[in-house]
């Protein structure tokens, strides 16, 4: 089991990380898999993280001991499931900096969380001529919903561009965020470049102009200590499956007064207060936004994922990522001609590391690495505007998490060397 306890017996010259990655690796049964005859080297956590045994166990325990529908049941199992479901909500609220549980909405993923805001707050508040600011590095999930909303409302999408180094270019920000701005939608950490954006600064500027800020935390929440109040965001969306939790569960934080004023997203059971043929009134937060039977099992299981992350310690996780990202960048830079996209400074980035080879296409890279048991991602990473800005059509992306160590990075680099020989280029 990982602990926060400092390991002072580390030999000199070893990474300063306080994590015992060997122990952490042992918590993830899937890492024992053999892939194409090799040890699995999983470097695709930015797409989805693996799950520790206690999370896998929690899911089966839920079905084994407490499954029932929640909130309206009057029997013992219904009570158990309801308590566990709401306990998980409280846990999420604590995990993101101690917000109120009613400010946490469960849904299916970051994509749905952002769509919820666009469809409710956006429909009610964006009007013709209003401006929505998005960055050039957004995932399609934090771009397309705003693009479609702007089309419906004849609103204007403004772009915060990136620099050649993969940072946001803030030099013109005062002419981009202004009195017409209604919303700034910004990723906390880029899924392609790894860049950590200065959300706090941008939120302060947005606030000055009365604009709201939505943070896409899909990549940041698994890797950084998060405090949404400190960040100054009004909405923050993230996904359980990228942070040790089950698939199919998204989290939306919204400030209470905003959520209260927003119309419901979907209509049906669970989200109503009174229903007659003359009138329908809606339930209080957070149920107003959780129509129908929710994803109870995954919500309950996510509690275990958060417990795991807290036991590791998010500061420790971040420190480990800084160390290992630095090591990875150094190693990749040693390969002649290999080009890393995004910032090189480890303090300003996370462990999603995109790279291109001067001659070998990312899909060939990925196929070759897979034959050596190494899982990475290749393609446009659902960020075509960013790809265009970088002048790339696709990149290969290796992404790190707390169960990765230098041996994984070494395996990657060795395989890349072998790949170049294989392709004879």
């Amino acid at each position: 089991m990982p602990t926060d306890t400092k390991n002072s017996s580390q030999p000199a010259g070893r990474p300063s990380s306080e994590l015992n990655v060997d122990l952490i690796k042992a918590d993830f049964p899937i890492l024992e898999e053999k892939v194409n005859g090799h040890r699995l080297v999983y470097l695709d956590s930015a797409a989805s993280s693996q799950k520790p045994q206690e999370v896998v166990h929690a899911l089966s325990q839920y079905y084994r001991h407490m499954h029932s529908n929640i909130h309206r049941g009057l029997h013992t199992l219904a009570e158990r499931a309801t308590v566990a479901y709401e306990k998980s909500r409280q846990h999420v609220a604590d995990f993101i900096g101690g917000v109120e549980p009613e400010e946490v909405i469960f849904n299916s993923g970051t994509t749905e969380a952002i769509n919820l805001v666009a469809r409710t707050w956006g429909e009610a508040n964006i009007n013709e001529g209003d401006e929505i600011v998005v960055t050039e590095m957004e995932h399609h999930a934090n771009f397309v919903p705003w693009f479609m909303l702007a089309q419906r409302k004849k609103a204007v999408i403004r772009k915060l561009p990136i620099t050649v180094c993969g940072h946001l270019d803030l030099s013109e920000i005062d002419s981009i965020i202004g009195p017409r701005t209604k919303l700034v939608a910004i990723t906390h950490m880029s899924n392609v470049l790894g860049t950590i954006n200065p959300i706090q600064e941008i939120a302060a500027l947005a606030k000055k102009h009365g604009a709201l800020v939505l943070g896409d935390g899909a990549q940041a929440a698994p890797h950084l200590p998060i405090n949404v109040r400190d960040l100054g965001v009004d909405f923050y969306a993230f996904s359980a499956h990228k942070m040790m939790g089950p698939t199919g569960l998204g989290l939306l934080y919204g400030r209470r007064e905003l959520l209260e004023a927003m119309p419901p997203y979907k209509f049906g059971g669970e989200m109503i207060s009174k229903v007659s043929f003359d009138e329908v009134t809606f339930a209080e937060l957070p149920h107003k936004f959780e129509a129908g039977t929710p994803n109870i099992a995954d919500v309950v299981t996510f509690d275990a994922a958060l417990t795991y992350l807290e036991r590791v310690g998010m500061n420790n996780a971040r420190q480990h990522e800084i160390d290992l990202t630095g090591y990875t960048i150094e190693k990749l830079n040693s390969l002649n001609g290999l080009e890393i996209q995004g910032p090189q400074e480890v303090e300003q980035r996370g462990g999603a590391i995109s790279f291109t080879d001067p001659t070998i296409h990312p899909h060939d890279i990925s196929t070759f690495l897979d034959s050596r048991g190494i899982a990475i991602r290749a393609g446009h990473h659902c960020a075509q505007p960013l790809m265009r800005a970088m002048g790339k059509v696709a990149t290969a992306r290796a992404s790190l998490y707390i169960y990765n160590d230098r041996s994984d990075v070494d395996a990657l680099v060795e395989a890349l060397v072998e790949m170049r020989k294989y392709f004879g280029l």
């Binding site: 194409n36 070998i360 899909h363 060939d364 196929t367 034959s371 446009h380 075509q384 790339k392 280029l425």
Partner: protein, 161 residues
Amino acid sequence: MSSSLDDMYREIIMDHYRSPRGRAPLPNADVSSDGMNPSCGDEINVAFSMDKDILTDVHVNCKGCAISVASGSMLAETVKGKSFEDVRKISEIVKKMLKGEEVEIPDDPDFEDLSALKGVRQFPVRIKCALLAWVTLVEGMEKYRAGGADSAKAATTEEDQ
């Protein structure tokens, strides 16, 4: 250990990838057809000159992965000097072969290299890479038949784009 990898990246395929045929520009082409798979970023241009029913010269320029480049190179080599009807037959066989459908591969020199593409079948996500050149060519041929020389819309083998 990596037999399926070697099945896909066969020596013939790597040879076509490293030195693709049909790259020479074709300034007086009768037809120019573009193809693109946005999610891979593979881009291809297939151009050809016609004399009656015969493709007298073919130009292929593909920017993409080893499979799409090699497939385009093989196409250039195979279809030059063939009639529309022959090209259509060949491309149907290639498509079926790639999709793993029952098909008899003719025992003629045209298929000596082409049959190396069979290994791609084991990598379902890469089939569309191998198909791109063929779909782009067929689209160009159809345009030509319909009386237009340039296809405005790029062909694609990505169904959900």
